[in-house]
Symmetry: C2
Subunit: 349 residues, 2 copies
DNA sequence: TTTTTTTGTCCCGCGTAAGCCAAAAAATAA
DNA sequence: TTATTTTTTGGCTTACGCGGGACAAAAAAA
C-alpha cells in the first residue's frame, strides 16, 4: 500500500502538518518577496501560526528572507516540486470530498479510493469507512436507525467489536423486505448493535404495509413500542440504491418498474423513489421512518458507491435531508462530472 | 524523490509521530493482551503519553480492548505490516545514526544517503547537511574555526546566504596549504562568514611553520590577534582526510608518506595524523588550533564521507575530541562493519 | 477471596501557541 | 533628498492545551 495512504490512516494530522508547510512554501513561491502577514492573510491562518512554521522552514534552509520579505531557497524550490506530487496524491480524494461537500451542500463527504462496480473489495472499504465514521460519531444515549441492503449488511459485518460497551440502541428503520435474511434491516440492526456494544430492537412487520392493515399491526404493543423508538431515532444510517434495482427487489412487476423509470426515478432510499432533483416520484408506505420524520433527525448518513450509483446518490442527496454522504472514488468522480454537466446545462439556458 | 525522504526533510516530527504509533502497535502485537502500563514501561514513555496515542488508535479501529488488555484488530495487523516497511525505510539511516552515536560515544551523528566515492552529488548533500546543522547550532557571539579541504569548501559553497545577520566570527583553524585557493581555510572562512551573515578574519601564514620562525611570525600584531581569536573559538568545524591523501597534499615525499603508513596512520585532521585507535602518529606544527586547545572547545564537528574514508573517520572520532560526526551512508555502513569486526577481534582474544 | 492488571478521571504545572506591540527597513511620495 | 507610509521582523505577555502523576473502580487471574 502507498506510504501516503498508510500515513493518512495511521496519522492524518502528520499529513496536515506537511500540507500546511507545503501551502506556505507555495505561497512564498508565488508571492515572493513576501512577509508573514501577507501569507497569513492569504492562507487565512493567524500570523503567529505562520510565524512558527516559517521559523522552522527557515531553520531548515527552505526559506531565505530579509527585511524586504522572504523567498524560496533553491532547496525550497526543489522540495516544493517534490511535495506537489505527494500533496496531489493525498489530496486527490480529500479535495474531492471538500468540493462535493460544498456543491452538494452537506455537512461531510467521505470518499474511499476505488470503484465498487469494478472491485468488490472497494465495497468492503466503503463499509469499513462507514463503520469507522459511525464509531466516531455515536454518543451514549443515541438511537440509531438503519435500513437494509447489501452495503449496510457489509457495514455491520466489517464492524470490529471493540469490546467497549456503548449506551446505544439500534433499530431497523423499515420492515422486512425480500428473502435474503442477511440484508434485512432487522439482521443489520442486531449485528450493528453487537459491534457497537449496544442493544437493539426488532420490527416484526413487512416493509410495504397495506394501509388498512396498519391499524391491526400497530395494535400489537411490542410493535408500537419499536415504532415509537424508531421515530425517536437521532441518527439514521441508510443505503442508497438505484431505482430500478430496488423496485425489482421489492417485487414490483416489469410494468410498474417501467412506469417508475418513465416518471424519472433514479434513486431509492428508505422506501422512497427520487428523481435527479430529489423530488419524490413514488413512496412505499411503511411503518418505520417516514419522510416527515427526517426533518427531526439531526444526523442522516447515506452510503452508496460505484459509478453506476452516481445518479442515485445525486437524487438522494438532492432531497436536502442528507447530512453525511459516504461513497467511493468512482461514484464521487462520476457524481462530480454529472454536476458539472448539469451546471453547464443550466448556464446554457 | 522518495515520499518518506521528502517528509523527513520537510516535517521530521510528523514521522516521529508515525513511528511512535508504529511502536505501540508492534508492542501490542507481541504482548497482547496488554495494558497501557506495560506498553509504557516497554517503550520507556509515560503512561499518559501512551494513553493518548492508544485512544486515537482505538478510535481509528486499529486497537480493540477490554479489561483483559488490548490487542490488534485485523485492520491494526494490516496497517502494522504496511508500516513495518516504511519505518524500515525511514529508519535505515536514522537508526544507523543512533547506533553509531552510541558506539562512537559522540553527541550526534548525521548520515546522508549515498556514497561520496561513487557519486559526487552525495558530497554536495554531505556539505548541505553540514551547512544546515551549522546554521541550526550557531548562536550569536560564537567564534567558528574552520579547516580547509574539498569537503569544507563545498560546505561553504552550498551555504545559502539567508540574508539574516549573525554575530558570528569565522576564522581559519590552520594556515595556508597547497596551491588551490578555493580549498584554503582562509577562503572557506570568508565564504562561510558571508553565508552566515557574520564576519571573518584571515590568518596570513603557512600551515606548516618551522619552529624557529614562529616567533618572527607571531611578532606581527595582526597575526597575533587572529591567533588569539582562533584559540578562543568555541566551535570547530573540520574535514577528515585519509592519511595518505593529506600527506601527499602537504607535499611530503614518498618516503615520509610510506613511513606514516607504516606507523599506522590512517586519518588526518587539522594537521594531526591518527592511527585507528585515535593515537597521534605524526603532528605538523601549526600556528592555529593545537591538540591542547581541543579540550577547551565545547563543540567539535567533523565531516567526512565515502567508504574510502571509513578508517580515517574512525581514527579521528576515536581521539575522543569529536562531538558531532557528519558522514554519508557508504562511510557509515563501512564504519559500522569495521567496528563490528574490531569487536569480534577483541572478543576473540 | 485476594492480588494483579486493566481502564477512566481528576488536578496540576509546564510548555507553547496566540495576540499584541515596537523597532527597523524598504518602498513610495513630496 | 527627505519624509511618510507600508511592509517587514522580533520580543513580550498571556492563556489555553496537553502531558504528567496519582487515584479509584472494575474486571480478570490466581
Amino acid at each position: 500500500m502507498n506510504p501516503i495512504t498508510v500515513m493518512n490512516e495511521i496519522a492524518p494530522e502528520a499529513l496536515d502538518l506537511v500540507e500546511q508547510r507545503y501551502l506556505i512554501l507555495r505561497t512564498v513561491y508565488f508571492m515572493a518577496p513576501v512577509g508573514r502577514r501577507a501569507i497569513a492573510q492569504r492562507l487565512e491562518k493567524s500570523e503567529r501560526t505562520i510565524r512558527k512554521e516559517v521559523d522552522v522552514l527557515r531553520e531548515r534552509g527552505f526559506l531565505i528572507g530579509n527585511y524586504a520579505g522572504m523567498s524560496l531557497s533553491s532547496d525550497g524550490e526543489r522540495i516544493l516540486t517534490d511535495l506537489r506530487e505527494y500533496i496531489r496524491q493525498m489530496h486527490g480524494l480529500t479535495h474531492l470530498e471538500q468540493e462535493l461537500k460544498e456543491v452538494l451542500k452537506v455537512k461531510k463527504v467521505i470518499i474511499v479510493p476505488g470503484d465498487s462496480d469494478q472491485d468488490m473489495v472497494v465495497k468492503q472499504d466503503l463499509a469499513k469507512a462507514t463503520a469507522r465514521y459511525l464509531r466516531q460519531v455515536l454518543k451514549n444515549g443515541d438511537v440509531l436507525a438503519v435500513t437494509g441492503g447489501t452495503t449496510l449488511s457489509q457495514v455491520a459485518a466489517s464492524f470490529p467489536s471493540d469490546g467497549t460497551k456503548r449506551d446505544v440502541i439500534v433499530v431497523p428503520a423499515r420492515g422486512g423486505l425480500g428473502e435474503d435474511v442477511t440484508i434485512q434491516a432487522n439482521s443489520i440492526a442486531a449485528k450493528l448493535a453487537q459491534g457497537l456494544g449496544g442493544s437493539y430492537r426488532l420490527l416484526h412487520a413487512p416493509d410495504n404495509v397495506d394501509s388498512n392493515l396498519v391499524s391491526t399491526i400497530v395494535a400489537d404493543p411490542q410493535i408500537r413500542d419499536v415504532i415509537t423508538l424508531v421515530r425517536r431515532a437521532n441518527v439514521l444510517l441508510h443505503g442508497i440504491g438505484t431505482a430500478e434495482e430496488m423496485a425489482s427487489r421489492r417485487g414490483l412487476d416489469e410494468e410498474h418498474v417501467m412506469q417508475l423509470i418513465i416518471d424519472g426515478a433514479v434513486g431509492e432510499a428508505f422506501g422512497y423513489y427520487f428523481d435527479p432533483k430529489g423530488q419524490i416520484v413514488y413512496a412505499t408506505s411503511s411503518l418505520g421512518v417516514r419522510l416527515e420524520d427526517l426533518g427531526k433527525i439531526p444526523l442522516i448518513v447515506a452510503v452508496g458507491g460505484g459509478k453506476s450509483k452516481a445518479w442515485a446518490v445525486l437524487s438522494v442527496v438532492s432531497t436536502g435531508y442528507c447530512d453525511v454522504c459516504i461513497t467511493d472514488e468512482g461514484g464521487a468522480r462520476r457524481l462530480m462530472s454529472l454536476l458539472k454537466h448539469k451546471e453547464e446545462h443550466v448556464n446554457g439556458n
